[in-house]
């Protein structure tokens, strides 16, 4: 059996890739994809611990996480569409009208 540490390392790697994407990219779509990566890193953790403890609750939570991600994407894409209509671009650093 593959030890739990391997899954956790995978999860940490995926999370960091997502975080890196958010911090460095400007395209809103890439942003969205990075957020998905981070969510799925969390899902991997759920499943890994579920396997480790022999408890199905973590798997159920992973299913919830996927549903949540789907909902989030739906809203995120809607926001990006509106962003494009207003600024003719999907660069997140250009939409700076909501500020102090």
């Amino acid at each position: 059996m593959i030890p739990a540490e391997t899954y956790l390392l995978l999860s940490a790697a995926v999370f960091c890739i997502g975080l890196f994407g958010i911090l460095t990219r400007r395209n809103a779509l890439v942003f969205l994809m990075s957020v998905e990566l981070m969510l799925n890193a969390a899902n991997i953790n759920f499943v890994a611990f579920s396997l480790q403890h022999g408890n199905l609750t973590g798997q159920v939570f992973a299913l919830f996480g996927m549903a949540l991600a789907a909902a989030e994407v739906a809203i995120g894409i809607g926001i990006i569409l509106v962003l494009y209509r207003n600024f003719s671009d999907v660069d997140v650093t250009k939409a700076t009208t909501m500020r102090w």
């Binding site: 975080l19 911090l23 997140v92 650093t93 939409a95 700076t96 009208t97 909501m98 500020r99 102090w100």
Partner: protein
């Protein structure tokens, strides 16, 4: 008792006349005067009925209306207390008010004054408030009507508000009495907090006490030591008697303000700016009498406190002398009368303080009659003189206005205390009570009585002097001005009230001729019997407001006892002879100095003393100095503290927040990437803190 069913109407009738005069006065003939005359006449008749019922052993103490129902706390109610004291006072107030209304026809209507509806509305409300105060059966109701009386005096003193003097005098009267009422209010709250009731006399049903009164509770606490029910005593940490003295003195603040006692007497001479019938009403029956009446009403509460009694006696004696000296040099007829009022109320306070409850009520009665007479007489003179009040412009009015002269003379003899006019009997009894209690009482209280007695006795001489100086200057000698040579006539509506009061001033003293009663052994001291109430089996609950009960309290608690330097009857006669002799000496001195056809201002010989007296001992100046020199800088300093320190702290906190907010809001840049960076940094920081604190590294 049918009379008691209609008793609320005594108060309500003048109130209705107030509403009628206010809203319909300008559409009525005489500007609403007839409504006022009818209402006060009706009140007078009802008061007579009530007095007759009380004379027949009737007594009434019931609540009429509950306006705050307390749950496990104080309930605030209006109620009527009709006993000999309030029945007598009702008679006085309604009679004087009725006569003043009639007199006003001559003084206001015949002189074509404007604003008559306002005037008669004021008179109506004034009378109604005073009557409400008189019948009040609890302290809070009394306080409310006491304040209404103050408001009405403000409205009426400032009646001629287009001139300079009256509005200023009205404000002064309002503010000075309000200063005293401030203490009264604290006293009322204190009494409610201490006893949980403000009742003057217990309410009984079928011989059972259903609501106890505060003087009786206080008496039980002091005499029998039943202090368990009074939780307040633990809070203040004083003995029962000391705390009741404090409460009594607080209430006395309102009395000193309203009854124009030193040092709050300064409003009263200025109140002469109002119309003269109003002065008569204020001085004789309504406002100024309220203070003394209040002390008499809750006398059971004062009788258990020797300190309060001594303070009352000393204030009274001092005020009697102090005001009488100022009356010596005044040039305006109403000013002389104003100072005589202050002085005479000083006598009443002296009597109350020195255990002469009956003497005080007696002097209140006779004074109401003769002072109303003198003010109305002065009003008649002022009509004749075309509103010139300076006595040095008068003279020789005796032949031209005989009715005014003879009635005024009757009032003056009463004021000076010449036998057999009313003032003699009452003032003599006041001084006699102070004398015998001064001799009999041991310790500081007896000394205080003797000092107060000496001041009161000295004031008798001055009273005789200024009274007859006024009479001679006004009515005798040669006319000293054109108006005095050819005075304006007065009609029946002026002469009628004067005639009624003139006869009363000569005769009302016969209700209580104590020296004659002692000499002949006849029971003709009717007022003693009246205030003592029916004998055994009359009205048991009411016995706590009878003069017998008060005498017992004074003797047992305050240890006020009578002592006689000679035997009892010789002392009584000697006291009467001394006060009569001094009054005659004063009157004689005035006669000698001012009798001639062209009198001169003998008071000029007093030199700087006259200046001092003319300036009223600089009382006004020192009170103005207190306000501008002391209170104002103090208020400014407080304002600085408030604006600078208290507000400064509040403003400082808010400006720090504003400044901080304006800086920190810069991080909200609108760029999503920055937010993400901040979030990540925050997470890293949290992890680092947890790591360091948790010892992961």
């Amino acid at each position: 008792m049918a009379a008691f069913t209609y008793a609320p109407a005594i108060v309500l009738l003048p109130f209705v006349s107030f509403l009628v005069a206010l809203f319909a006065g300008d559409r009525m003939p005489k500007g609403g005067a007839l409504a006022g005359i009818t209402a006060t006449g009706g009140s007078l008749l009802l008061s007579i009925w009530v007095a007759l019922t009380v004379a027949g052993g009737g007594y009434h103490n019931e609540f009429v209306y509950t306006w705050v129902a307390g749950v496990e706390s104080v309930t605030l109610r209006f109620g009527l207390l009709l006993d000999p004291l309030s029945a007598l006072m009702l008679l006085i107030v309604t009679l004087i008010s009725f006569l003043v209304h009639i007199f006003s026809l001559g003084y206001m209507n015949d002189e074509d004054e404007t604003g008559l509806p306002r005037y008669y509305a004021g008179l109506g409300l004034f009378t109604a408030s005073m009557l409400g105060f008189v019948v009040a059966n609890n302290l809070l109701m009394a306080f409310m009507f006491f304040e209404l009386v103050g408001l009405c005096s403000y409205l009426l003193i400032g009646f001629w508000f287009r001139e300079d003097g009256p509005p200023s005098a009205a404000k002064k009267a309002f503010l000075v009495t309000r200063f005293g009422d401030y203490f009264f209010l604290i006293g009322v709250v204190g009494i409610f907090a201490t006893f949980g009731t403000g009742l003057f006399a217990p309410i009984t049903q079928n011989g059972e006490v259903v609501a106890q009164s505060f003087p009786v509770l206080a008496e039980h606490a002091v005499v029998d030591g039943e202090t368990e029910a009074i939780a307040m005593l633990d809070t203040v940490g004083l003995s029962a008697q000391a705390w009741f003295t404090v409460l009594g003195l607080l209430v006395l603040g309102g009395v000193v303000g309203k009854s124009a006692q030193f040092p709050l007497h300064t409003w009263l001479p200025d109140a002469m700016e109002g119309p003269t019938p109003v002065s008569a009403l204020i001085h004789a029956a309504t406002m100024v009498a309220a203070g003394v009446y209040l002390v008499a009403r809750m006398y059971g509460f004062y009788a258990i406190s020797p300190t309060a009694l001594a303070v009352i006696a000393l204030i009274g004696g001092f005020t009697a002398l102090f005001a009488a000296t100022m009356g010596l040099v005044k040039q305006e007829i109403k000013q002389v009368l104003a100072y005589s009022t202050i002085s005479q109320y000083g006598y009443m306070m002296l009597a109350l303080g020195s255990g002469g409850y009956i003497a005080a009520v007696f002097h209140l009665t006779t004074h109401a009659v003769f002072k109303a007479l003198l003010f109305l007489g002065a009003g008649s003179v002022i009509i004749a003189m075309h509103h010139n009040e300076n006595m040095w412009d008068m003279g020789g009015l005796k032949e031209k206005m005989p009715v005014t002269y003879w009635t005024f003379l009757s009032g003056s003899l009463a004021l000076a205390g010449i036998v057999p006019f009313a003032g003699f009997w009452s003032k003599d009894e006041v001084l006699y009570e102070a004398l015998i209690h001064g001799f009999g009482t041991e310790g500081g209280l007896g000394t205080a009585y003797l000092v107060a007695y000496a001041m009161g006795l000295l004031a008798v001489f001055f009273t005789g002097f200024y009274t007859f100086r006024m009479v001679y200057l006004t009515f005798h000698g040669d006319a000293r001005s054109d108006t005095a040579r050819n005075p304006h006539g007065v009609r029946w509506n002026v002469k009628g009230p004067l005639a009624v009061l003139g006869v009363l001033a000569a005769t009302v003293g016969f209700i209580n001729m104590k020296p004659v009663a002692k000499l002949t052994g006849a029971h003709i001291d009717f007022l003693h019997a009246w205030l003592a109430g029916p004998d055994e089996g009359g009205w048991p609950a009411a016995l706590v407001t009878s003069s017998h009960h008060y005498e017992g309290l004074l003797h047992d608690v305050a240890h006020v006892t009578a002592g006689y330097p000679l035997n009892e009857t010789p002392t009584l006669l000697a006291s009467a002879a001394v006060s009569l002799g001094l009054a005659l000496a004063g009157a004689g001195a005035a006669t000698a100095l001012y009798r001639g056809s062209d009198p001169v201002e003998h008071t000029d010989k007093l030199g700087s003393l006259k200046t001092l007296l003319m300036h009223n001992y600089y009382q006004d100046e020192y009170q103005v100095w207190l306000a501008t020199g002391l209170t104002y800088p103090l208020a400014r300093a407080m304002d600085k503290f408030d604006q600078g320190v208290v507000d400064g702290v509040v403003n400082g906190i808010s400006s720090v927040s504003l400044f901080g907010g304006s800086r920190i809001r810069r991080i909200q840049s609108g760029v999503v990437s920055n937010y993400a960076t901040l979030l990540t940094l925050g997470l890293v920081l949290l992890l680092a803190i947890f790591g360091l604190a948790g010892g992961w590294f």
